[in-house]
């Protein structure tokens, strides 16, 4: 999952979906990514957005971006995209 810019896919877990009617998970995920990367275009950064049953996203981040997002309000945990196995 590493690319040439030393970015790695991380899961940003944000818990339950807020019950506010005006909350749109995808826009929130994009805003967070824009904020931590300082880039207006997040093309290639957002891998997945979790928005139907809980809140979070998977994104390509550098180590410093990972630290930034981990300290943001609303983020429960940030962890590398691990590989599990069939048993």
């Amino acid at each position: 999952t590493k690319d040439h810019q030393e970015k790695q896919v991380y899961i940003v877990y944000m818990g339950s979906l807020p019950s506010r009617a005006d909350y749109t998970p995808m826009s929130n995920h994009v805003s967070i990514l824009q904020e931590i990367t300082g880039e207006s275009s997040i093309e290639g950064r957002l891998v997945r957005s979790y928005k139907r049953s809980f809140n979070g996203f998977a994104a390509r981040l550098t180590e410093s971006e990972r630290q930034l997002v981990a300290n943001m309000e609303g983020v429960v945990s940030v962890f590398p995209n691990k590989k599990l196995k069939l048993q």
Binding site: R48, R52, K83, L84, L86
Partner: protein, 615 residues
């Protein structure tokens, strides 16, 4: 499954009581390596349209079609939802496959393959394609919960342990539980090592693997007429013909390679000496047997499970292997016949399998894991047309596999079966019903890893699980209190639960209303006393009196006091609380001490293991 359901008492067809209309509305979400829709196990003959509650879709990708049995599919790995390894097809059919008669694997295991709930529907979520990434797994949970599945079976795991907030299965299962969906997870195949289990969250049902009374054996008939018995899965019929035996070290490629030739290590054998003969090896490496042109292979096998090989094989236990070597030494032209495997049904069972991952739980030390055990040895179930058992052009519709991957969907199927009788029960009630009615098991060995840390509450009993009498129910708020007790802060808990949480009154993790009771002492005290608080809900008879009984396991020096010792229930769904105080002294620091608490009203026996351990 031609034997496993019978072994557990879930008989075929009308011999089992079913609530068919509810079963038909039950949806099992299978998170795995995809599925083979064309399998007869997933034919929709006789099925009506999907249940009204179903909100999912068939998005299996190119050339992938669903039907009224396989009602939904999604894939997260590239490609489509088609199963290339056979694993997802196998697990789906164990939980919910149609009953398909006259099935076997080259004659082995002949019978009717079936899931626990053949009338139920399947939704397949392909999260693995060789590897199963966290982001795929979380996507599947995100979708399956919203799609409206009833039970999730996920035969996936890690060899490493992570805190709950960094474990995708624990995260997904928590949100599933919040929506009334029970997640059933394989314990893992990293046993028998202590604390090898990585499926640790209390809101999931974690399943170990054990044997049934059926096993496949195959005979080796020596030239002198003596017969040895291996426990291999040999589908090849050499018609009893005897071939010369060549012990690896006699076929060494050079004098310096004799030692490695004994183990049949690659490049240590002279293929010209092996070709056309039966290769005898201390260690079985299929590749070596194939490439040297051996007609069959006999090897020393200390394991308790067998896998399919592309040539005739027989794995002999050490004593029989030594007999074979003695025979080879005793004659100038040793010969033997390797016979096709046979099925025998007289095995003492269930026994926990060596590979099944063991507790204790190293994240939540006071939660006993695994929760239960189920059949995971040599299970015959559906296969994908793309999965080739012998890595040649041989296709099979049904195949034999072993693992906690196979035991997991057995329990998922049972959970679904229980739910068909009690559609309103919470995930924890279903879990409790399965755990407290499980067959009691005994440690097959004395080692630390062969205790409740191997089999949890015992072996699943599908029929008894539908009528447990009492259940230990836990709601989302109870799990939140449990997490507070594990020192998660209120801010984190609010995010996870979506509700304001006060973590002021810290609940001890051991007081989670769990169907088993376990605690880790911080050290080997000369004396100790710990109390568990529990609440049971009456789901049996309105007017009933339950008396407690404590049965100490062999060698246990625990003192167990239950207060009150009698519970008088006046109505259904009535809840009553009690405490269990366990005291003792000078516990064995190397083995857990255990007992069983049984609440009985004369009809129902509600059994909970109590496990205390140190170190």
């Amino acid at each position: 499954t031609t034997a496993s359901w019978d072994f557990m008492g879930l008989k075929e067809g009308n011999k089992t009581n079913r609530n068919l209309s509810v079963e038909s509305d039950t949806i099992i979400g299978v998170f795995d390596g995809g599925i083979w829709p064309e399998s007869e196990s997933f034919s929709d003959k006789g099925f009506g349209p999907p249940p009204k509650k179903w909100k999912g879709i068939c998005a299996g990708g190119n050339n992938f079609t669903c039907n009224n049995k396989l009602i939904g599919a999604r894939h997260y790995a590239p490609g489509n939802a088609t199963d290339s390894s056979g694993h997802g097809t196998h697990t789906a059919s164990i939980a919910a496959g149609n009953a398909v008669a006259k099935t076997s694997f080259f004659g082995l295991g002949y019978g009717t393959v079936r899931g626990a709930v053949p009338a139920s529907r399947i939704a397949a979520y392909k999260v693995c394609d060789g590897e199963c990434k966290d982001d795929y797994i979380l996507s599947a949970f995100d979708d399956a919960i919203a799609d409206g599945v009833d039970i999730i079976t996920i035969s996936i795991g890690d060899i490493n342990v992570y805190p709950f907030e960094k474990d995708p299965i624990a995260i997904g299962a928590f949100h599933a539980m919040s929506k009334g969906i029970l997640t059933v997870n394989a314990a893992g195949n990293t046993g028998p090592y202590t604390a090898s289990i990585a499926s640790l969250a209390p809101w999931m049902l974690t399943v170990a693997a054990s044997t049934t009374n059926r096993v496949f054996v195959n005979k080796v008939v020596l030239g002198d007429g003596k017969t040895l018995v291996g426990n291999s899965l040999n589908t090849f019929d050499l018609k009893g013909e005897k071939f010369p035996l060549v012990y690896g070290k006699s076929a060494a490629s050079s004098a310096s390679e004799v030692k490695c030739a004994e183990d049949c290590t690659p490049n240590c054998l002279d293929a010209s000496l092996v070709k056309g003969n039966i290769l005898v090896c201390n260690i079985f490496l299929p590749y070596v047997a194939y490439t040297t042109g051996a007609v069959a292979c006999i090897f020393k096998d200390g394991s308790d499970w067998a896998q399919i090989e592309g040539i005739p094989v027989s794995g002999l236990q050490e004593d029989d292997f030594e007999s074979l070597l003695s025979y080879i030494k005793s004659t100038n032209s040793p010969k033997a016949a390797v016979l096709k495997s046979e099925t025998v049904f007289n095995q003492p069972a269930p026994k926990i399998l060596s590979f099944s991952s063991r507790g204790p739980n190293i994240i939540a030390a006071d939660i006993l894991k695994p929760d239960v055990t189920a059949p995971g040895l040599e299970i015959l179930a559906a296969n994908s047309h793309k999965a080739l058992p012998f890595y040649d052009n041989t296709h099979v519709k049904y195949t034999v596999e072993s693992g906690t991957s196979m035991s997991c969907p057995h329990v998922a199927g049972v959970a679904a079966y229980v739910k068909t009788f009690h559609p309103k029960w919470s995930p924890s009630m279903i879990k409790s019903a399965i755990m407290t009615t499980a067959w009691s098991m005994n440690a097959s060995e004395t080692r630390y890893a062969s205790t409740e840390f191997a089999y949890g509450a015992g072996h699943v009993d599908p029929i008894a699980a539908t009528n447990p009498g009492l259940v230990y129910d836990s709601a989302k708020a109870d799990y939140i209190a449990f997490l507070c007790g594990m020192n998660y802060n209120a801010t984190t808990m609010k995010l996870i639960s979506g509700e304001a949480v006060t973590c002021t009154e810290k609940s001890l993790p051991r007081n989670l209303n769990y169907p088993s009771m376990s605690t880790k002492l911080s050290r080997s005290y000369s004396s100790f006393s710990v109390t568990f608080s529990r609440t049971v809900t009456n789901v049996g008879t309105p007017n009933s009196t339950y008396k407690s009984k404590v049965v100490l396991n062999h060698g246990s020096k625990l003192n167990v006091k239950v207060s009150p010792s009698v519970l008088s229930m006046k109505s259904l769904n009535e809840k009553q609380s009690f405490t269990v105080t366990v005291s003792g002294s000078d516990l064995d620091s190397k083995l857990p001490s255990s007992a069983n608490l049984i609440w009985s009203d004369g009809t129902h026996n509600v059994r909970s293991p109590i496990v205390v351990y140190a170190g």
